[in-house]
């Protein structure tokens, strides 16, 4: 270990930990009894989940007439929530795949939980188009399969069909990436578990991993390949989600700016959710040495960047509406800012454009309580962004006689809360049963017993 090069960059892990101590620190939270905070969190989130299950069951029994949708506003809370949750997932892939390709070693402490967040968020997202169908037991109709109706195939020219393939691929690839990254750590847990069910489960999941260098070499190659495949995938997924809107002829939706605008917004919202979760996890699971102020600072800086792109997109939309000379386009944007949903528009601007500017100050970035509060503001703002895009474009379309408003029902609000319940329940269970931090990757970036500086190369 060279002292001189170690001094150039701050270490990625605080407290000068050794590999054995890393195993101890991270496995510890899985082996003891959960803290009371964990039980409180699980109680709250599973109650929300129960509420959501009740709301969805009611919707399935009665039909989607229980929602506040009408002939003019055909997409409301359901698709808003879908786009919101899919967007949350994108930061997980950014951290696990894109930052891996860029050799950003600080990602090691947060990538496992960010990937878990991606998977749970995509699960929440998938739920909404499913129940929006009204008859979810026929959901398999969206896949092309041999049938006796012709065979009649799905329409591959439809953006909604692209969406099915994009989200399904995203879920499967993220799940594989997450699981493959976890195999060495599951082997560590297997070798620590004394006996019984836990040992059997971890042995089954760790696939007989024994740390052979030949397998490591192949494994690392595959990990790099997966990162390389997941990077264009993540950009394609929200591009395709944005095409659900952009391929329509509705003013406010029919714009070429949507793909980059949606991708940047997705990563922006996802980073805010990563911060929210990490700041809780580091306290509850006692991981202050691993998720340090440096990680929080880096993510705040990424938020400033992506938030800047989002702000740029908001102003470009307005400029183009004016510049196009199209009265319908101009009306939609004036209606957004000054119409009946202007409160939602200005909530969005306040949360997404002004909040990230506070992160320019180092004092604010290093105040973790403040960062936590601001990250929640961004989550709220990004939910409203999707609501504004969907509802304000729809509610006053071409014919004033068909103008209408949209008021969500209690069932829709309960379904949204239920999706948060599902997300946090899954995340808390993950914290409890699987290693929250990638032990094998953390050991590889320690300064302990290495021939050269292991910091940020």
């Amino acid at each position: 270990m060279s002292e001189s090069s170690a001094a150039l960059r701050p270490p990625l892990v605080d407290g000068n930990r050794r590999p054995g101590e890393v195993t101890q620190d991270i496995s510890h939270s899985l082996e003891g009894r959960p803290s009371w905070l964990w039980w409180v969190g699980l109680g709250l989130s599973s109650s929300l989940l129960a509420l959501g299950i009740a709301a969805v069951s009611y919707t399935l029994a009665k039909g989607i007439g229980t929602w506040g949708l009408n002939r003019t506003v055909g997409w409301g809370f359901d698709i808003t929530n879908f786009v919101f949750w899919i967007g949350i997932g994108h930061a997980g892939t950014l951290i696990s795949a894109v930052l891996f390709l860029f050799r950003q070693h600080w990602r090691t402490a947060v990538n496992r939980s960010a990937e878990a967040m991606t998977i749970f968020a995509v699960m929440c997202a998938g739920l909404f188009p499913l129940i929006h169908m009204g008859r979810p037991w026929l959901a398999y109709f969206v896949f092309p399969y041999p049938n006796f109706r012709g065979p009649l195939w799905i329409n591959f020219r439809s953006a909604l069909c692209w969406d099915v393939f994009a989200v399904a691929t995203y879920f499967l690839v993220s799940l594989t990436f997450w699981y493959i990254g976890m195999v060495p750590d599951l082997a560590t847990l297997r070798d620590r578990a004394s006996s019984g069910l836990k040992h059997r489960l971890y042995s089954w999941l760790s696939l007989g991993w024994n740390g052979s260098a030949r397998v490591w070499l192949r494994y690392e190659t595959v990990y790099l390949l997966l990162a390389g495949l997941a990077t264009p995938l993540v950009f394609s997924v929200h591009t395709i989600v944005s095409m659900d809107f952009a391929t329509a002829i509705l003013p406010g939706w029919h714009t070429t700016i949507f793909p980059p605008y949606f991708v940047a917004g997705a990563i922006f919202s996802g980073l805010a959710m990563v911060l929210t979760l990490m700041l809780v996890a580091r306290k509850v699971m006692r991981l202050e040495n691993y998720i340090t102020a440096r990680h929080v600072g880096s993510m705040c800086k990424l938020i400033i960047g992506t938030g800047g792109i989002v702000a740029m997109a908001y102003s470009t939309e307005f400029f183009i509406a004016w510049y196009s000379g199209n009265p319908y386009e101009q009306f939609v944007f004036m209606n957004r800012a000054l119409g009946p949903f202007s409160w939602a528009y200005w909530t969005m601007v306040g949360c997404n454009v002004l909040t990230p500017q506070l992160f320019w100050f180092k004092k604010i970035r290093s105040n973790l309580v403040l960062v936590f509060i601001l990250s929640i503001f961004i989550n709220i703002g990004m939910w409203f962004e999707r609501f504004v895009i969907i509802v304000t474009s729809l509610h006053r379309d071409f014919l004033p006689s068909s103008w209408n408003t949209y008021i969500p029902t209690k069932i829709e609000v309960a379904t949204l809360l239920g999706s948060f319940g599902l997300f946090f329940t899954l995340f808390l269970l993950f914290c409890r049963f699987l290693p929250v931090i990638s032990m094998s990757e953390i050991k590889g970036v320690l300064h302990h017993g290495r021939p050269h500086d292991g910091g940020g190369r």
Binding site: F165, G208, G211, R214, Y219, G449
Partner: protein, 175 residues
């Protein structure tokens, strides 16, 4: 002559040095076991880069080709339906799904190949060379097939590089 020795080490620096040295002296490196991927160990062991990248490329191409063919076949051949006057074979509209299928086939296929090639299955029993290899221990397993090497050289090499523990198998049960 078939003599197998296993040395347990405490850190990355030692395992890299001892692996390179043993190989230079003419011992066969059976394998190295580490708790995390040690960079440079492939060079020390004399391993060539994994060829799985070519597998991945082929699978990605396969996924794209099959999906593009399938979309064209379903939309233009099997049951042609006029949708909004669009051409039956509308290639640009087939690009997104083709792309997703390429990624899906490439990613899942490559992982499957990794698991099969490395013998990683849920029912596999882990063969650990020493306890702690998934925690903080680094293990080198070497085999002496050349009878001309001095009998105590291997042990001396391992000890000089800081081995905590050395085990020797002289039995014929080794394959």
């Amino acid at each position: 002559m078939n003599r197998k020795l296993t040395g347990v080490f405490a850190n990355e620096r030692e395992i890299l040095a001892v692996t390179a040295d043993c190989r230079e002296q003419g011992y066969e490196i059976v394998d190295v076991y580490t708790p995390y991927p040690v960079h440079g160990i492939d060079r020390a062991m004399g391993l060539s880069p994994s060829r799985i990248t070519f597998v991945c490329f082929a699978l990605t191409l396969l996924g794209a080709t099959l999906k593009l063919w399938f979309q064209t076949w379903t939309s233009a051949v099997s049951w042609p339906v006029n949708i909004g006057g669009k051409p039956l074979h509308s290639l640009p509209a087939f690009v997104p799904v083709t792309f997703e299928a390429a990624i899906l086939c490439g990613a899942l296929g490559t992982v499957l190949v990794l698991l099969i090639r490395s013998g990683l299955f849920p029912w596999s029993k882990p063969r650990l060379p020493a306890p702690g290899v998934t925690d903080d221990r680094f293990v080198l397993a070497i085999r002496q097939t050349n009878p001309d090497l001095p009998p105590d050289l291997a042990e001396r090499l391992l000890r000089d590089h800081g081995a905590i523990e050395i085990r020797e198998d002289r039995g014929e049960e080794e394959s």
